[in-house]
Symmetry: C2
Subunit: 343 residues, 2 copies
């Protein structure tokens, strides 16, 4: 097997696979004791800027679970921090932005990202991929809407009221904000691809807060700009947001090769919404992993059954691994999917 022929990349291209490939969103993270040990005494953003730690953390779940892809360990705020936005990740809270963006003058905080701003990413991706060999590395970035929500609200928000007030109330400023974020995000993904990432995933964590008409008018153009900007590299582009059942077609339309699906929509129905020519990724409810083994397998089997007729399926959870998940349950689940789908 070569890297290009790996089950993960074949599935992204909707080619036949020896088994359904598996990875887990947030597989590199708090569910692993070795991760908690590596991170001890190191702040989140600091850990993202140290190639030795990024390499170790990115590889940990590959060693442990036998998953079919690694996902680059980072945080969606890293490119914004790298261009000098005054922000921090507060434990137990999330990203906190010192000067929220609410006016045209505030946009000055957002200059384009140069590769030199994130040389630690180039270095870390190089180190990770040389260790990974034939296992693909998935690059990672937050999508413009989700970044905008943190920047406008000043931190995590349940209702995104300031973000939506800006979006509905000042469409011109909104469009410029999202455009700047698209430029930054494109550069951040390009750095990862040029350093060796075999695929990229754009996380639009909060897109599910939007009605389809608003997503189409006010968000899709910026996400499309990101996907277009990396298209010529030819690596598969994955797009995911939680609670996006109504948006699945639009997430594909924005330019994804693979659409990630949360657990609320069965994959056969998701395929109808996404339409032909796209692979699907998902979609076991991460909370199922807290149930006994038989229940996990019943639900995983249900995911595989719904995906049975699809040309390209990457098994994943329908959202990130929850921090208190038993890691052994993830290892067993990976083995189960591999066994059940071995051809």
């Amino acid at each position: 097997m070569t890297l290009a022929d790996s089950p993960f990349l074949r599935a992204c291209r909707r080619e036949p696979v020896p088994h359904t490939p598996v990875w887990f969103m947030r597989q590199a993270g708090r569910s692993l004791p070795e991760y908690r040990k590596t991170r001890e005494g190191v702040a989140m953003l600091d850990s993202c800027m140290r190639p030795d730690l990024v390499t170790e953390i990115t590889l940990q779940p590959v060693r442990r679970h036998n998953v079919d892809a690694a996902v680059y360990f980072s945080d969606i705020m890293v490119p914004l921090k790298a261009i000098g936005v005054d922000l921090d990740i507060k434990p137990g809270v999330g990203p906190v932005v010192a000067r929220p963006i609410r006016s045209r003058a505030d946009l000055a905080q957002l200059r384009p990202l140069e590769p030199g701003d994130v040389s630690y990413v180039t270095e870390a991706v190089g180190m990770v991929t040389s260790e990974l060999g034939d296992t693909p590395l998935i690059g990672f970035a937050g999508a413009p809407f989700t970044l905008a929500s943190y920047l406008v609200e000043g931190g995590p928000s349940r209702n995104h009221e300031h973000t939506k007030a800006l979006m509905y109330g000042d469409p011109e400023l909104w469009a410029e904000l999202l455009d700047r974020l698209a430029v930054i995000t494109s550069a951040f993904l390009t750095v990862q691809i040029e350093a060796g990432a075999s695929a990229v995933q754009l996380f639009d964590s909060w897109a599910g807060a939007l009605a389809p008409a608003d997503y189409r008018a006010s968000v899709l153009p910026a996400s499309r700009k990101v996907f277009d900007a990396v298209a010529h590299h030819g690596v598969p582009r994955i797009h995911f947001g939680v609670g996006t059942g109504e948006l699945l077609g639009l997430l594909g339309e924005a330019g994804a090769d693979v659409v990630g699906v949360d657990w609320r929509v069965p994959l056969d129905e998701a395929a109808r919404r996404v339409g032909p020519g796209k692979a699907l990724q998902g979609n076991l409810d991460p909370a199922v992993l807290f149930a006994p083994r038989e229940a996990v397998e019943t639900h995983a089997r249900r995911v595989l059954d719904a995906a049975a007729g699809l040309p390209g399926h990457i098994f994943n959870l329908g959202h990130g691994v929850l921090p208190t998940t038993d890691p052994d349950a993830l290892t067993r689940l990976t083995a189960y999917v591999h066994e059940q789908t071995a051809r």
Copy 2:
């Protein structure tokens, strides 16, 4: 006009109306300065047990906004508190349960509710309805799944992992838990109807966390039991949960006369999913109220357009009023909907 002929009740029955009726989920609450004043120094659960305060708070938004219905001021935890479950509502957190339910022995906390346990509800509904005259009062209860989530998690939860672990791991215990909650909820709604409520709304706040197959198998039977238990009173039964786009048909199937829709699904599409014979309620994004007046009206117009062909439409938000909403925006919105739909 008589109460039975009020626009709200006519719309629930899918009869012609002089204008589209309007009310807002959480219209009685923190968005109003007069509410904050009434509640000063009074804990949430204490306020729910004082008929004078309940009456005042329930009437405040009717006086201020000219809405077409009042909604009984309560909290979904009130019936559980009334039967002796050790719980509190912590400001800024939500309901906190002293002994979470995780085993069969824990079920002993849940005995049936007797009308005498909530005599203050009977009293308050009587006081409210005599003040309201021809304006209908909507009774209110949390649905069994949402109550179960608070009881099993011990408090608010983003991922409901313990709840789902119990649901998937011990279906028998789960079914008994939900059945007991259905009995309690039925009794709580019956008290409100017998005291004079003209309609009831069952809030399944967290149902949107479930995939349709799990909702159908593990939750729908208990919600149906509640709707069946109050059917003979002949008052309209409303069912609502946020993020339930995939569940709209099932929410109706559980026995609702009116299905509440959040802002993610346009009402014409919601009508297709719910099927004939039901009215719809909704569905302006509550965050839109933070935008300028013209944007609010554009979005409200979009809701009315999507509802134009439907036999029964009650205008509402797609979720509760956010606490920092400008109350004048709600008053203006009510007038706008009345004007735009006057026949």
